[in-house]
């Protein structure tokens, strides 16, 4: 029988791997697995009841009013994802291109664009909640000052504008991230390659569409995937700016808020229900994991060696 010997190197590797592994198991793997387990039981507060199989999944997906709440939250997540995809990533690309072409002030803007990314979401949420204040907030004061009174709206207080305002704030805060990734992708393009393209076209648009974008797109994979995960995990910003209910009238409700309300309870959602909450968490997790994995594999294939 081979003897198990701990050599110096093996000891090192063990010492380095065990602590993070322990943390991962305790705080990531175990909660996910236990949430999966919780979803199959009835709960009385913190007291576990009977095994009920897929009842909670059925409830949140097919029994009213839970089903329409789930649908509403999910649709809002989808809206958030697509809007951010266009606004945050689109604007990020434009900004990156402007920075890359070294327009005047590029050095300053390179820092400025990325600055909000470093701020805590809690700070950003509070800041913009104040900015959007219907009476005292600078947003409306600026609109009024410019004579655009019709634009002075209770941005966070009406169903038609609340979700849009949240999306705007998220894009403002995070646009620096895609900008940085796109900029890095652009800087990787060899100068001679662009010179070669300039020998064949003097249209900036053709250059962007046929040369720059195809070469940068693969490096956007990580941006897309992270945005997808972030959009369906969206919690902090709406929680701080519009509260747990996704007010007004659920117009800003997303899966994250809905799950939290359900699992831990609040005034409007009633008592806590770990069972249904866990079912929601498991569904969200499965959805994100499957789609993100599928996309990662597909988009990876497009990557180009320069």
């Amino acid at each position: 029988m081979p003897r198990l010997r701990l050599t110096g190197r093996g000891l090192w590797i063990t010492a380095l791997i065990v602590p993070p592994l322990a943390v991962m198991v305790t705080f990531v793997a175990y909660p996910i697995l236990s949430a999966l387990a919780y979803a199959f039981y009835d709960w009385q507060g913190l007291q576990r009841g009977e095994f009920v199989g897929f009842k909670h999944f059925h409830t949140v997906l097919f029994t009213e009013p839970f089903a329409s709440w789930t649908r509403n939250a999910f649709i809002n997540n989808v809206i958030v994802f697509f809007s951010l995809m266009v606004i945050q990533n689109g604007f990020g690309f434009v900004l990156a291109y402007a920075l890359w072409r070294e327009l005047p002030g590029a050095a300053f803007h390179r820092v400025a664009v990325f600055l909000p990314v470093v701020l805590s979401t809690v700070i950003i949420g509070f800041l913009w909640k104040l900015f959007f204040h219907p009476i005292f907030g600078p947003v409306n004061q600026i609109f009024r000052g410019m004579g655009l009174d019709f634009l002075a709206q209770p941005w966070l207080g009406q169903s038609s504008t609340a979700l849009g305002s949240l999306i705007f704030v998220n894009a403002w805060a995070w646009v620096g991230f895609p900008t940085l990734v796109f900029l890095a992708g652009m800087q990787r393009i060899p100068t001679e390659l662009l010179d070669a393209a300039r020998m064949e076209t003097n249209s900036e648009w053709v250059l962007i569409r046929k040369i720059v974008w195809p070469l940068v797109a693969p490096s956007a994979t990580v941006v897309f995937i992270l945005l997808f995960i972030g959009s369906f995990n969206w919690f902090e910003l709406p929680y701080i700016m519009v509260g747990l209910d996704g007010s007004p009238y659920g117009s800003t409700d997303v899966l994250g808020l809905y799950f939290y309300r359900t699992a831990f309870g609040n005034q409007s959602a009633g008592v806590q229900d770990f069972g249904r909450g866990s079912a929601l968490a498991v569904l969200t997790f499965m959805f994100i994991a499957v789609v993100a994995a599928f996309w990662t594999i597909r988009l990876r294939k497009r990557e180009i060696q320069i």
């Binding site: 001679e192 010179d195 300039r198 020998m199 076209t201 003097n202 070469l215 060696q305």
Partner: protein, 356 residues
């Protein structure tokens, strides 16, 4: 048809002057090589002609039309880059089709041109491959093909051989020469390698420190270099410059012997004269009082030739071509004699050629 004329062309990057007034005419179907050490401005000049960098001052005409403000894609000029600069996300066909499509040609015409170029460059098998699946030589041919299909008036080639290994280099050099003969366009070729310049060019433009030192055929440059820079740049091994003091027809080195040359330039009748000798212009003797005294440093045996490197009294290292059977020991004392017909004379101060 392509005639280029550059008049007093200057280029400045911020505070650095790179080109100090270039005057140059290039005729139709000419193969012109810009050659010079790195940093001499040859690539910059090529980029100005391409339109990739703006001309600071002066004028560039192509076929009589002022080109200074015409964008690169509208000049009728195609360029082959040192790194080939193929579009990595397009296959070989797309790489070649990209430019001509933007020119608005019909699909049938595009296919015909790509077919023709692919045949000429033996790219037929590779049309569906991506650049990363090609060898260095194949990429090179695609880069040339991409230039060919546009049927430009002028081809620019920026050190196209420098990324190839030595064996491939001479093949591609021949291929480029053949290509120029077949398509007959005007070609401007930049290199720092004087062998490429000598073998390819109809006309060589020797540049140094942002100025043109001399323009001429390879033979002109080799046989009548305008100054010491051209003299030492063209030819391998290099021409040796010997700074001599002159007394009538006698050119001497202090404590280093002397040579008598019947026909010397009239200028500097008494004083100094720089004597330029290529390895062929010298002969060696082992004794006697005539000739420059030298001591052998080492001998380079090349099979059909041998080069003897020897040091003169003033420390100048001279290379002499000899018969491969001639054996010289290190530190051996020898005498060097000059073949007057093959000697070059330069003004010691200005370095300019002196005519006999």
């Amino acid at each position: 048809m392509a005639r280029l004329s550059l008049r007093n062309v200057k280029k400045q990057f911020k505070d650095t002057k790179v080109l100090h007034g270039i005057d140059l005419d290039i005729g139709d179907r000419e193969f012109v090589v810009f050659v010079g050490p790195s940093g001499c401005g040859k690539s910059t000049l090529l980029r100005l002609i391409a339109g990739l960098d703006p001309i600071t001052e002066g004028q560039f005409h192509l076929n009589g039309q002022l080109m200074n403000d015409v964008p690169p894609s509208k000049r009728g000029i195609a360029m082959v880059f040192q790194s080939y600069a193929l579009y990595p996300h397009m296959d070989v066909y797309e790489n070649m089709a990209f430019g001509v499509r933007l020119m608005g040609l019909k699909q049938t015409e595009i296919d015909a041109r790509i077919d023709e170029a692919a045949n000429m460059l033996r790219l037929g098998e590779l049309l569906k491959r991506k650049p990363r699946e090609l060898s260095g030589g194949q990429r090179q041919r695609v880069a040339i093909g991409r230039a060919l299909v546009r049927k430009p008036d002028v081809f620019l080639l920026d050190e196209p051989l420098s990324n190839l290994d030595a064996a491939l280099r001479s093949d591609v050099r021949l291929e480029i020469a053949r290509l120029h003969r077949d398509i007959g366009g005007t070609m401007i070729y930049v290199t720092h390698d004087q062998v490429e310049a000598m073998t390819l060019a109809d006309k060589i433009v020797v540049m140094n420190l942002g100025r043109i030192e001399q323009v001429g055929s390879p033979r002109t440059l080799y046989e009548t270099p305008a100054n010491t820079f051209v003299a030492t740049f063209i030819g391998s091994p290099r021409m040796t410059l010997i700074k001599t003091s002159r007394d009538g027809n006698r050119l001497g080195l202090e404590d280093g012997g002397s040579v008598v040359i019947e026909d010397l330039p009239n200028a500097n009748a008494n004083g100094t004269l720089t004597l330029g000798v290529r390895p062929d212009a010298l002969t060696i003797s082992r004794d006697g009082e005539e000739g420059f005294a030298a001591s052998v440093v080492y001998t380079e045996y090349l099979g059909d030739d041998a080069y003897v490197y020897a040091r003169l009294a003033d420390g100048t290292l001279v290379s002499v071509r000899t018969h491969p059977n001639a054996l010289y020991e290190a530190d051996e004392k020898i005498r060097l004699h000059v073949d007057a017909a093959q000697a070059h004379f330069f003004d010691t101060q200005s370095g300019q050629r002196l005519v006999v």
